[in-house]
């Protein structure tokens, strides 16, 4: 009896590990965690994401012309003010989870991984496959949307930080965000 109990316990553990590693179940198939969106189209990049105005006067410049070949050349520095090269988009409600408050669980997915054909942590340009848009992704703050004596329901999302420093191609960029959850 004791031996049987031990065998069943190990068998249950082995089955659970195999299920998690060989065929990750979609979160929406779980009764406890569900994805609220399968596709997220983020707000397009706008001027006010990076700068205040499209034309910026830099004030006065004093120069002295010098002879360079057949021309007179008045050279000088042009100091352009910086712009915001990291643009943030938040998806506040991407998944929902029913939790037992008696159990300690992490505040969000165990793992967030964004990838595309352009590699990890980057979106790929649909029109120009060689162009990539670097992205960092992190969990958005968790929100409790319902609570009762049996537990609470929380919603979470992600924050995507796009690095525009090296991007020169406009167009549509896309990729896949993979989320792993602990099932409470």
């Amino acid at each position: 009896m004791r031996r049987s109990s031990l065998t069943l316990g190990l068998g249950g553990l082995a089955l659970l590990l195999a299920g998690a590693s060989l065929r990750p179940a979609a979160a929406s198939e779980s009764p406890r965690t569900e994805l609220l969106q399968r596709q997220v189209s983020l707000a397009p990049l706008r001027l006010d994401d990076v700068a205040a105005r499209p034309v910026e006067a830099l004030g006065h410049s004093e120069r002295t012309a010098r002879r360079v070949g057949a021309y007179l050349v008045a050279d000088g520095a042009l100091a352009t003010p910086p712009v915001r090269l990291t643009v943030t988009r938040e998806v506040p409600a991407l998944w929902r989870q029913r939790r037992d408050p008696a159990r300690v669980a992490p505040d969000g997915p165990l793992r967030l991984q964004l990838s595309s054909a352009a590699g990890f942590d980057a979106l790929q340009n649909n029109e120009d496959p060689a162009a990539r848009l670097p992205v960092r992704v992190r969990p958005a703050p968790l929100r409790v949307i319902a609570r009762d004596e049996r537990g609470e329901t929380v919603e979470g999302g992600v924050v995507l930080e796009f690095d525009l420093a090296t991007v020169k191609a406009g167009g549509h960029y896309s990729g896949d965000l993979h989320l792993d959850f602990e099932e409470p």
Partner: protein
């Protein structure tokens, strides 16, 4: 002995349950994929420019003879006179009329069409839009005549670009550049063709109206 075994059994059972529960907490139990996309198609363009410029012109820089002269400023340009002309008596004076000394022009700039390149007077950040290129245009402004009392300097043509090559002057000129992105601005020049024929006095030549206008389109 039996009692002891049961106790051991309970202990093992508790240990197993604890172990299983601990492993369950650390194992991802569900996963999902979300398609993510964003458009960089609206076009973001930022133009930087110097709103006012003061350029000092040294007249000596317009004249840089390469032959027949010594010195720098002033230049000393000796000319061998032609054969001595016959002298003519004008009353009590004897006048020998020579041909005027030759004025070396090699290397000097035509003062009626002085090309003045204003380097790094505009810069551009551009990403997205209807194409991957941006058009930068310059027009002669409404203040194309710079005045200094009765003297003046006229701007008779303009040109624009990012790298100075062969200049072509006209009332307006355009340059098409590849979008540089937003990270590193692309700097450019504006060239003015100056007519100094009526610049007869030293001093400051100015006009309150703009001498040129830069326009960016295409994104």
């Amino acid at each position: 002995m039996r009692m002891s075994m049961r106790a051991l059994s309970r202990a093992c059972g508790l240990a197993l349950a604890a172990t299983v529960a601990g492993l369950t907490v650390s194992t991802p139990a569900s996963a999902g994929d979300v398609k993510v996309d964003i458009d960089l198609t609206n076009g973001v363009t930022i133009l930087y420019y110097h709103s006012t410029l003061t350029v000092s012109l040294n007249a000596a820089s317009l004249i840089a003879p390469t032959t027949g002269c010594t010195g720098s400023n002033p230049y000393e340009c000796a000319d061998t006179p032609s054969a001595a002309p016959n002298s003519t008596n004008y009353g009590a004076n004897v006048v020998a009329t020579y041909a005027a000394p030759a004025t070396p022009t090699n290397g000097s700039i035509n003062p009626a069409a002085v090309p003045l390149v204003l380097q790094n007077v505009w810069a551009l950040r551009a990403l997205g839009g209807s194409s991957s290129q941006t058009t930068v245009r310059v027009d002669v402004g409404t203040g194309a005549t710079l005045n200094n009392g009765s003297s003046s300097i006229a701007i008779t043509g303009v040109d624009i670009g990012t790298t100075v090559g062969t200049l072509t002057f006209a009332a307006n000129r355009s340059a098409i550049v590849a979008d540089p992105g937003l990270g590193t601005p692309l700097n450019g020049f504006v060239a003015l063709q100056l007519n100094l024929s009526n610049a007869l006095a030293l001093g400051t030549y100015s006009n309150a109206n703009p001498q040129y206008t830069i326009t960016v389109t295409g994104t």
